[in-house]
């Protein structure tokens, strides 16, 4: 991918990455999880996060540099709270080689594509393979087809998304950051699927 040689070797082998200092997730009622968003540039990763965290949508495109960090806490019906610490990564090719910095140690990965762009769907599959190889073994992965409001320009069929997600043990949903469709559902569904730490006996 791109300019992989530009990553200093010293950081590649290091464990930990940008992880919370402590696990923090030991309390079964107050979970704290690291979530990473991956996908091609322009599929709307930042828009999904900003819709979820701030309830905003900004149609002017703002290219993410490196990765932005945001957090949001949600409460589930069983009175558990889940604090998502979200790494919204840049989709540009030059950052691809640096992605391990952000996905290392992540409990959740959202892999997003644009339903009007088969190329971005292809890129999503690249990220799924990359995470299967190098991500945490028990990582929860969600495949997200964004820009569902642009249904007339759709080029990736919903069924293709469902099929690919099923084959790879992922959760699938189509969202629209613009209309807020399915955004909260996406994060709630992820929260439900998180492995719960066993309460101390």
């Amino acid at each position: 991918m791109g300019c992989s040689s530009s990553v200093p070797d010293r950081s590649a082998g290091r464990l930990g990455g940008v992880n919370p200092d402590n696990g923090g997730a030991n309390d079964p009622k107050n979970l704290r999880v690291k979530l990473v968003l991956l996908g091609d540039s322009g599929v709307g990763k930042s828009c999904i996060v900003l819709r979820f965290v701030r309830g905003q949508f900004d149609p002017t495109s703002k290219v993410t540099i490196g990765a932005s960090f945001l957090s949001q806490t949600i409460a589930l019906q069983d009175s558990t709270t889940v604090k998502f610490e979200i790494w919204d990564t840049a989709g540009q090719e030059r950052y691809a080689a640096l992605a391990p910095l952000y996905y290392r140690g992540a409990a959740v990965a959202i892999i997003a594509y644009d339903i009007t762009s088969p190329e971005s769907f292809h890129k999503a599959q690249y990220w799924v393979k990359e995470l299967q190889k190098h991500g945490s073994p028990d990582i929860v992965m969600a495949l997200v087809g964004n820009k569902a409001d642009l249904n007339e320009q759709r080029e990736v069929q919903t069924q293709d998304g469902i099929d690919y997600a099923e084959k790879n043990g992922m959760f699938f949903i189509e969202t629209s950051a613009k209309t807020a469709d399915n955004i909260n559902q996406l994060f709630e569904e992820i929260a439900k699927r998180l492995p719960r730490p066993t309460p101390p006996s």
Partner: protein, 547 residues
């Protein structure tokens, strides 16, 4: 040029097609040695006096290698010779487009019409600068593209386009190949091409390993300035990718680099824009936001605290000005790196949305490796940059930022910064000669009260008791080599219009480059004049180099 914000300058990207008169050369350099100046201006006593004053300052000061430029008028002289411009053959004309008289006037220092000047100050709509790629629909076949006054290109040694200021890079493949052919033709002869002059156009080349940078300009800027701009453009690319991108070309000479720079058009266009308003781009020095000493110390001490703990550089900035800057032991930050880093951060909107952690390379510090930058905006103008070599330092840096933020809030640094920003920089009218009256005129954010005078009133004060005002000093830039810093006054009457400000900027640029010209210089003192500021005024910027 502290009063010019990047969005309100008269840039070379003016949309409007303006009539460009065949204007005379504005700046008539009378540089050289002291005796030459006497000969050249022998009929003008004022100049002589001015000169002696400058020289005596130089001798009395013990500080080495400091430079200051001033800009004075000589009201008693009405008429001067106006040398006419040597040639009028335009690049656009030679390329076969329409007559040379209607270039797209994007670097419009050349308008000598005094009547127009008065309208400039209020024409705010045309001075709004928009970042990002514009005119992307153009290519080298477009008439409008050919008429742009200043082009920048980055291409690979195989002739593949990497970046173009105007037009779509991919459509410019043929043009890029031509530039590459010129460079390699000369290289094959065992030589190197630096500059080609064609009519009033200059084509400046810079070869950086497998990366070629080219500027085509008819702005009359000196070659050294344009070359320096290409160096900065290359530095900006290194900041994003590091120099190890060169290895991609070793593996594959036909490597296409455009995708690696995806989404960075705004970074490059904002840098190129700053070439026409930010003196830091040619002075290689940074400027500080004026603040009371105690306020700056409060900021510095908390930055110093965190710098001990694995932070290589900690910078607190307000727009393009430094509030405080601290580096870990033995590390030093080059002013060009500060310029490129702040340009990168300010032109990338995503940094404003949330805190971020990104790989960044400082070309002057180490062009081969990434550092990691934690960036956080405290308010719309003020931001913190913490640089580290450790890729897992994010949570530590986040904690550092929380500590810094609480100190800055408790000691009112952030509100003082906002006040300083509103008050602006140093005003010539406030520079009073009498030490007793000086205290009262210092801006309020510097801790002392400023007399409640309106702008015209203040100007009158300067006229009577100070060195500023319409009859005295109009503007200055002072650069300290020792500190790597410069300070400049705000633009004030009569340098009101953006056009005049840009012309002054260009005059400083020329002055700086001629003072550092190894061929004929360096000069200690030189005078230049510009007779386009009014019928009854003649201006003498004075440059002084002490060493």
């Amino acid at each position: 040029m502290s009063s010019r914000s990047p969005t309100t300058t008269l840039d070379d990207e003016e949309e409007a097609l303006e009539e460009e008169a065949e204007s005379p050369v504005q700046l008539n350099a009378i540089n050289g040695s002291f005796s030459e100046e006497i000969v050249a201006e022998g009929d003008d006593d004022f100049v002589e006096d001015q000169h002696f004053e400058s020289n005596s300052k130089a001798e009395s000061s013990g500080v080495n290698e400091e430079i200051s430029y001033t800009w004075r008028n000589v009201p008693e002289i009405d008429e001067v010779e106006r040398p006419l411009s040597p040639g009028s053959s335009g690049y656009a004309g030679e390329m076969g487009s329409t007559s040379g008289g209607d270039e797209i006037n994007d670097d419009d220092e050349d308008n000598s019409d005094i009547r127009e000047v008065e309208f400039d100050g209020v024409s705010g709509s045309q001075s709004q600068w928009v970042s990002g790629k514009r005119h992307a629909d153009e290519d080298d076949a477009s008439v409008s593209w050919r008429k742009r006054k200043k082009h920048f290109f980055i291409l690979s040694h195989s002739g593949k386009p990497i970046y173009s200021r105007y037009g779509d890079e991919h459509k410019l493949a043929g043009f890029s190949a031509t530039l590459q052919a010129i460079i390699s033709f000369v290289e094959n002869g065992g030589d190197r091409v630096n500059l080609v002059r064609a009519g009033k156009h200059q084509v400046v080349f810079l070869v950086k390993g497998p990366i070629y940078l080219v500027c085509i300009s008819c702005t009359e800027e000196p070659y050294e300035s344009l070359k320096g701009q290409l160096e900065l453009l290359h530095g900006q690319m290194i900041l994003i990718l590091t120099k190890s991108v060169n290895r991609c070309f070793e593996k594959n000479p036909k490597f296409d680099m455009t995708s690696l720079l995806g989404g960075t058009d705004a970074v490059f266009s904002s840098l190129i824009h700053s070439f026409s308003w930010n003196p830091a781009t040619f002075l290689h020095a940074y400027s500080c936001l004026p603040l009371a000493c105690a306020t700056r110390q409060a900021a510095a001490s908390i930055l110093q605290d965190v710098a001990g703990s694995g932070v290589l550089f900690a910078l607190l900035m307000c727009k393009h000005k430094v509030i405080s800057l601290v580096s870990a032991q033995k590390a030093s930050l080059h002013p060009d790196d500060i310029l490129l880093l702040s340009n990168f951060i300010m032109s990338s909107e995503s940094f404003r949305t949330s805190e971020s952690f990104s790989p960044i390379c400082l070309p002057r510090y180490n062009p081969m490796a990434f550092l990691y930058a934690y960036v956080h905006y405290f308010d719309i103008d003020t931001y913190l940059i913490l640089l580290t070599t450790s890729s897992d330092a994010f949570y530590h840096l986040k904690d550092c930022r929380i500590r810094i933020e609480s100190v800055l809030l408790n000691s009112n640094v952030l509100s003082e910064v906002q006040r300083s920003l509103v008050d602006g920089g140093m005003h010539i009218e406030d520079l009073l000669v009498e030490p007793t009256s000086r205290a009262g005129a210092v801006s309020s954010h510097l801790g002392q009260p400023r007399p409640g005078v309106s702008a015209p009133g203040r100007m009158a004060d300067g006229f009577v008791g100070g060195i500023g005002g319409p009859a005295g000093l109009w503007h200055f830039i002072y650069r300290s080599i020792y500190l790597d810093q410069y300070v400049s006054s705000e633009f004030s009457s009569p340098i009101n219009s953006l056009r005049q400000q840009k012309r002054l900027y260009r005059a400083y640029q020329k002055l700086y480059s001629s003072m550092h010209d190894k061929g004929i210089g360096p000069h200690k003192t030189q005078f230049r004049r510009d007779e386009n500021y009014g019928r009854s005024f003649l201006f003498y910027p004075v440059a002084l180099r002490m060493n």
